[in-house]
């Protein structure tokens, strides 16, 4: 088993052990979307146009709730120190972390999305486009979150700081994602989806290195 696979398997185990945290993310997603009809009223005429934007905003906000914990436990317990001394390059470690975080955090959200779309009277013919865009969008968001989590690791009030750091950077993904989710002509692969894919590709190339640089010199618990 390669070092990367070892880390991946370890993260899946850790993710499963900490599934309560991820359930909180899913719960947050469901609650935000449940609040919308309560605030706007149950009228389809009001809900339908805002269904896609609200699903995107809910996905962004609830993803954010899970990011603060991506590295904190590994840094505190000293595992990152051991990884840094091992043959596993830190960028690969970051990719393993991001991949498991996406699988455990975003996939349940994607599975719940059709139900939420129905509740908001979304045009169901847009559902495949929405889901595809959300797959790319949540992956991009996870990579941004990994950067934010690594940069704010050990900072006081890291959670709030990270929201301020990550959300502005997530704007391109949100804009292209929301546009790609409601294609005018019914085609799924739109220019907006391609631009969203481009955002993801850029993040895939740079995020692991930025996060690894931020993690390369960190203090562990009372390590001084």
């Amino acid at each position: 088993m390669s070092p990367f696979e070892v880390q991946l398997r370890r993260d899946l185990r850790l993710g499963w052990a900490g599934r309560g945290d991820m359930a909180v993310m899913l719960g947050f997603f469901l609650i935000i979307l449940t609040l919308v009809p309560l605030a706007v009223g149950p009228d389809a005429a009001f809900l339908q146009p805002i269904a896609v934007p609200m699903i995107w905003i809910a996905a962004m906000l609830s993803s954010l709730a899970g990011f603060t914990r991506i590295f904190s436990e590994d840094v505190r317990c000293g595992w990152v120190d051991q990884v840094a001394l091992s043959p596993l390059p830190l960028p690969l470690y970051v990719i393993a972390k991001a991949a498991t975080h996406w699988v455990i955090g975003a996939v349940p959200m994607l599975l719940a999305t059709p139900l939420m779309a129905l509740m908001l009277y979304m045009d169901t013919s847009h559902l495949p486009a929405l889901l595809l865009a959300l797959v790319l969008g949540t992956a991009a968001l996870t990579l941004l979150g990994v950067i934010g989590a690594a940069l704010t690791e050990g900072a006081r009030g890291g959670g709030g700081l990270m929201a301020v750091l990550v959300l502005p950077l997530a704007m391109p993904a949100l804009i292209f994602g929301a546009l790609a989710s409601a294609p005018a002509d019914g085609g799924i692969v739109t220019p907006h989806l391609m631009l969203l894919g481009a955002v993801l590709a850029v993040l895939l190339a740079v995020a692991p290195f930025i996060a690894a640089a931020a993690l390369s010199e960190t203090e562990s618990e009372s390590g001084a």
Partner: protein, 222 residues
């Protein structure tokens, strides 16, 4: 004590991954004129230290004099503000933090670490390592349920899995250990030195090792 110098040069290709700054012989650790900064404050300047195979050095000094910072710097986890550090043997680092994820068992942590480093990770090897620190009895419990001393013992069991030429960087290795485990640790260190390894340890508590250790006292820079 330091006669086996050339023996270790460019050795252990199997553990290349653990080698930092592989290169010029003689094998060992050379710290030359290193300055340490901690929390924006200079805690040491012009620190020098040389070690070769089979040697043990104890770091002493008051709190905040930079002992842990020096160990982290040698491990490559902090930059040296000045000076050079060369080390051509594998490095095993056990800092304040044990490097064990609380949600996993001691055995999983140990096996993952061994696999990550390409070291022996079968049940026999892990059991033997755990036995050295008498940690097998609680190795299958999640680490979060272990006491401080028990975690320390699982973390120290890692040392026996590493290559024999390794430099061990130990930060307060015997804090929280009971008497029997302290003796087990002393044995571990003695065996490692006999096998041609090196140990650099920061500790306030005495280590009952039979090898005569050198002591490096870090003065407080007021």
């Amino acid at each position: 004590m330091s006669a086996t110098q050339p023996d270790n040069a460019n050795k252990s290709p199997a553990h290349d991954s653990l080698v930092r700054d592989a290169g010029a012989p003689p094998a060992g650790l050379r710290v030359d004129g290193v300055a340490l900064v901690r929390g924006g404050r200079l805690v040491q300047n012009a620190l020098s230290l040389a070690m070769v195979a089979g040697e043990v050095t104890l770091l002493r000094g008051p709190n905040g004099s930079g002992k842990s910072t020096l160990l982290r710097t040698i491990a490559g986890r902090l930059p040296a503000a000045a000076g050079t550090i060369e080390c051509d043997v594998p490095v095993l680092y056990i800092g304040h933090a044990d490097g064990l994820s609380p949600a996993l068992t001691g055995r999983q942590n140990l096996a993952d670490w061994a696999m990550l480093n390409g070291l022996a990770n079968d049940d026999v090897a892990i059991d033997a390592a755990l036995d050295r620190m008498q940690a097998r009895a609680f190795a299958d419990l999640p680490v979060r349920r272990l006491s401080h001393g028990q975690r320390r013992r699982v973390a120290l069991a890692r040392l026996t899995l590493g290559p024999s030429s390794a430099l061990w960087l130990l930060d307060e290795p015997n804090s929280g250990l009971d008497a029997a485990s302290s003796i087990a640790l002393d044995d571990l260190i003695s065996d490692h030195l006999k096998g041609g390894g090196m140990v650099l340890a920061a500790t306030h508590l005495p280590l009952g090792i039979t090898h005569s250790p050198r002591t490096l006292v870090l003065e407080d820079m007021a």
